[in-house]
């Protein structure tokens, strides 16, 4: 929890940044509507809000990425014109964006030097030292000379944080910095933020995890539909219990009484109680045996991976990001060739089958790289819903497209998954990250799946949607749909899985029955 700022009370009280009446509209949507927000030096200001509420838009205006339609930004009481990211950086505003902004073919060090080098020649030596120091503070281990595109997402996120700390920042903006971090990583980040606060830095912290928001934040503001709908100040944060706070936040985010309707407990992750009845068939749905994959120079290889997912079972795959989870998922989905071993679905070998044949047999894959792999940005939401079913009835008949059938499906799914989009004909690229994820989820679950591979299914989703996704996985499982859930969030796996497999360095180090001591045993296997 926060330490009261007894040392520098006057500084803490001073508003470092003030946003006044900020408004921003995009085609068909008002992303920010008359927003007033104050950031104080030496405080962490948590921003919460459902997907598409306008959080990223708001901080993009603070970091100079987009210009507000109206409203003003005051820095130390003086209005400033945030014409470009350069201005923001010069004013001491450092940002970690929601979507990573590293140059893939530059090394980590080069990425850090980008734009921050004051001399003509690059001083790699000094940079290396500074990097070592900052990385140590984050408790991370990253090779400074590795090309960015060879790192796992979690590591990239750490590099992004290092990058934001690289220059002398007075105001630090973190847009969902923890989405790819392990719990340890989050803890390290929290410690770093404590130190920065003590140094008088104002911090904006965007997250979808309620507990992070109230633990790390000194203040919490809640956005909804582009407007600030509520705030918790320091006193309130200190005086109430976490459960009370969460209930209050949920009510603010989703409307009064939301905590009653679905229950905060439902919304926040809750470990599975051992007595909860789970009816898992003995029949093997998916059998992976002796699977090996050659990842080449850049990617993790898989070695001799074997496991079984039974009908209606939810098997979790835990592990630090980048230990071969994606390769495993892609191999099962048919997106990459396998070197040795076999994959069987309902007894049938999939080795010789391509992606479409596997889809036909009920195999679904929810990718973790939604922006680059999951969607075609410039197509509409509706079109993206059917891109895995091109040419199939009822969306195509006699070789021509049937827009009405597609629209009907899209309307229904958008409704069912509460996707926030101006219309089903909006470019999907314009949607917020969480809403894109909903479209993907709807697409995978819409057509009678048999087995679904979920790769980081709730990444970037707001609490309610995440809870909805988890309940969907459970619900589908109870109807006999098997699931392979890959996640770096152990809590999530503990909440929904029947068994949890652990991956490390491209190997399956073990499988644990979910239950009382599961957490500890998974932890052991992860370091094994």
């Amino acid at each position: 929890m926060t330490t009261p700022d007894s040392t520098t009370p006057s500084r803490a009280a001073a508003p470092a940044v003030e946003l006044r009446g900020i408004t921003k509209a995009f085609p068909g949507v008002v992303a920010n509507d008359d927003i007033h927000l104050t950031l104080r030096a030496g405080q962490v200001h948590s921003l919460l809000g459902e997907n598409g509420a306008g959080k990223s838009t708001l901080i993009s205006m603070l970091s100079g990425m987009i210009a507000p339609d109206s409203g003003e930004i005051l820095l130390d009481g003086r209005p400033v014109q945030m014409g470009s990211p350069r201005t923001a950086l010069d004013l001491g505003i450092g940002t970690v964006y929601q979507h990573l902004t590293l140059v893939p073919n530059l090394t980590v060090l080069e990425n850090l030097l980008l734009g921050s080098s004051t001399s003509v020649m690059l001083d790699f030596h000094a940079a290396r030292e500074r990097f070592a120091e900052l990385v140590a503070r984050l408790g991370a281990a990253i090779d400074p000379d590795a090309r960015a595109d060879t790192l796992a997402l979690g590591q990239l996120q750490q590099v992004e944080i290092v990058k934001a700390l690289w220059r002398d920042t007075r105001i630090l903006i973190l847009d969902e910095p923890t989405s790819m971090l392990t719990p340890q990583g989050v803890a390290e980040l929290q410690r770093v933020l404590e130190r920065l606060k003590a140094g008088g830095i104002a911090i904006v912290f965007i997250t979808h995890k309620l507990h992070e928001a109230i633990e790390i934040g000194d203040r919490v503001s809640i956005l909804k539909g582009g407007r600030i709908v509520g705030a918790l100040d320091e006193d309130e944060l200190r005086s109430k219990t976490p459960e009370q706070l969460k209930a209050r936040i949920v009510n603010l985010m989703f409307g009064e009484g939301a905590d009653q309707l679905s229950g905060v407990a439902e919304i926040e992750i809750r470990p599975l109680t051992p007595d909860e009845p789970r009816d898992v068939s003995e029949e093997a749905e998916l059998e992976v045996s002796g699977l090996s994959i050659d990842g080449g120079d850049d990617e993790m290889s898989l070695h001799d991976v074997s496991f079984v997912v039974h009908r209606g079972e939810i098997l979790g795959v835990a592990g630090v990001d980048g230990n071969g989870q994606r390769q495993l998922a892609q191999a099962i989905a048919g997106q990459r060739p396998i070197h040795a071993g076999d994959i069987r679905l309902a007894g049938e070998s999939l080795r010789r089958l391509g992606v479409p044949e596997r889809q036909e047999r009920g195999l679904r894959y929810l990718t973790d790289d939604r922006l680059h792999e999951g969607i075609v940005r410039d197509e509409s939401v509706a079109m993206n819903m059917v891109l895995k079913r091109i040419g199939q009835p009822p969306f195509w008949r006699r070789g021509t497209i049937q827009p009405s059938a597609i629209d009907a499906l899209a309307e229904e799914l958008v409704d069912r998954y509460e996707t926030r989009t101006p219309s089903i004909h909006t470019r999907i690229g314009a949607l917020s990250g969480g809403n894109i994820q909903k479209v993907l989820l709807a697409r995978e679950l819409a057509f009678d799946p048999r087995l679904v591979i979920y790769n980081k299914p709730t990444h970037g989703l707001d609490v309610k949607t995440a809870s909805f996704v988890r309940s969907q996985i459970r619900e589908q499982a109870s109807q006999g749909v098997s699931a392979l859930v890959i996640s770096t969030e152990l809590d999530e796996l503990l909440a929904i899985c029947d068994r949890i497999a652990v991956m490390s360095s491209g190997r399956l180090t073990g499988i644990v029955e979910n239950g009382q001591d599961a957490q500890a045993r998974v932890g052991e296997l992860m370091v094994a």
Binding site: S84, T101, L102, V103, P104, L106, E110, S116, M121
Partner: protein, 313 residues
């Protein structure tokens, strides 16, 4: 005839210097294009920039009576042409291919028009530019005269390649350029103007292409004729792409073309009857074969030819 009579020192020297003469315009242009492509701007109109450079360079050299001032004028011509790309493509973010083709056609038309009006009756030709002989080296047999007693711009040209290569790897400008072509949003987020970075890269490309054109008119030909670049700009684009960001390869690429042209000449003079068409195809066939046999990957900056719009989703 007895072809061994041909194999004199002077003959080899002429072949070598011929290869150099043919290679240098392409070297300059491909170096410029490589920089620009690294920054994410594809100059389909490179040939047009060269033509402007050739025309301006020739005029400069003719009226100012100095090959150096001529080359400078060539640079000016190229820069002027590249300003079109800067304004329309970098600043206004118009389609690079459309503007490039327009620039190419426009340059062909205008330079030919101007040439006709200006030189149609007189066809002036330049004095032979003075050369710089490097002591000792220039006394070497065959290679001495051809490689070490040439116009100093040749040495400058090769030095430039190394300089640019070093710059791209070791300086912050180089880093900016590479980021601008790969992930402009990251560069922007890092507080560096994508527009400015690309602007400089395109201007550098124009300057180098103009220099190449100037070299072509002033030193390689000694005169200006319409359409005289003969597709050199397009070859330079291909070479720049093949370098995959390692600009030192422009030397290899342009020399390959120069040498193959010379070989074509040498074979003919030696009385070996291979059609020129075959020999001229060789460099392309070689590269294609190399690609088929070895290249498992080829790489172009991922934001090449894409305009950057800040904050766009």
């Amino acid at each position: 005839m007895d072809s061994s009579a041909l194999l004199t020192e002077a003959f080899f020297a002429a072949l070598i210097s011929g290869a150099l003469l043919a290679a240098l315009p392409i070297l300059f242009a491909s170096l410029g294009e490589a920089i620009s492509e690294q920054a994410g701007v594809l100059n389909v109109g490179l040939e047009g920039m060269m033509l402007f450079g050739a025309y301006a360079g020739f005029n400069g050299a003719l009226y100012l009576h100095s090959s150096w001032l001529g080359l400078l004028a060539g640079i000016g011509g190229g820069v002027l042409a590249s300003l079109t790309m800067v304004v329309l493509c970098v600043r206004m973010r118009l389609d690079q291919i459309v503007v490039g083709v327009a620039l190419f056609l426009f340059a062909e038309g205008v330079t030919s028009l101007l040439h006709g009006a200006q030189f149609g009756e007189s066809y002036p030709r330049l004095e032979k530019p003075s050369e710089l002989a490097i002591p000792l080296l220039s006394d070497l047999p065959a290679v001495g005269e051809s490689l070490f007693s040439v116009h100093p711009i040749v040495y400058i040209g090769f030095a430039l390649v190394f300089l640019v290569s070093w710059m791209l790897r070791r300086t912050s400008t180089g880093l900016n350029v590479r980021a601008a072509g790969e992930t402009p949003a990251a560069l922007d987020a890092a507080g560096v103007s994508v527009v400015r970075t690309r602007t400089w890269a395109v201007l550098a490309c124009g300057a180098l292409a103009g220099l190449g054109g100037g070299y072509l008119a002033i030193i390689a030909a000694g005169s200006f004729t319409p359409f005289m670049t003969q597709g050199a700009g397009f070859m330079a684009i291909v070479i720049a792409m093949l370098t995959r960001g390692k600009v030192l390869w422009t030397i290899v690429g342009s020399l390959l073309f120069g040498v193959s042209l010379t070989i074509a000449t040498a074979l003919q003079l030696a009385g070996i009857t291979i059609p020129t068409d075959w020999v001229q195809m060789l460099p392309f066939v070689t590269v294609i074969l190399v690609l088929i046999l070895f290249a498992r990957r080829s790489y172009l900056p991922s934001a090449l030819a894409l305009p950057y719009v800040r904050g766009e989703r």
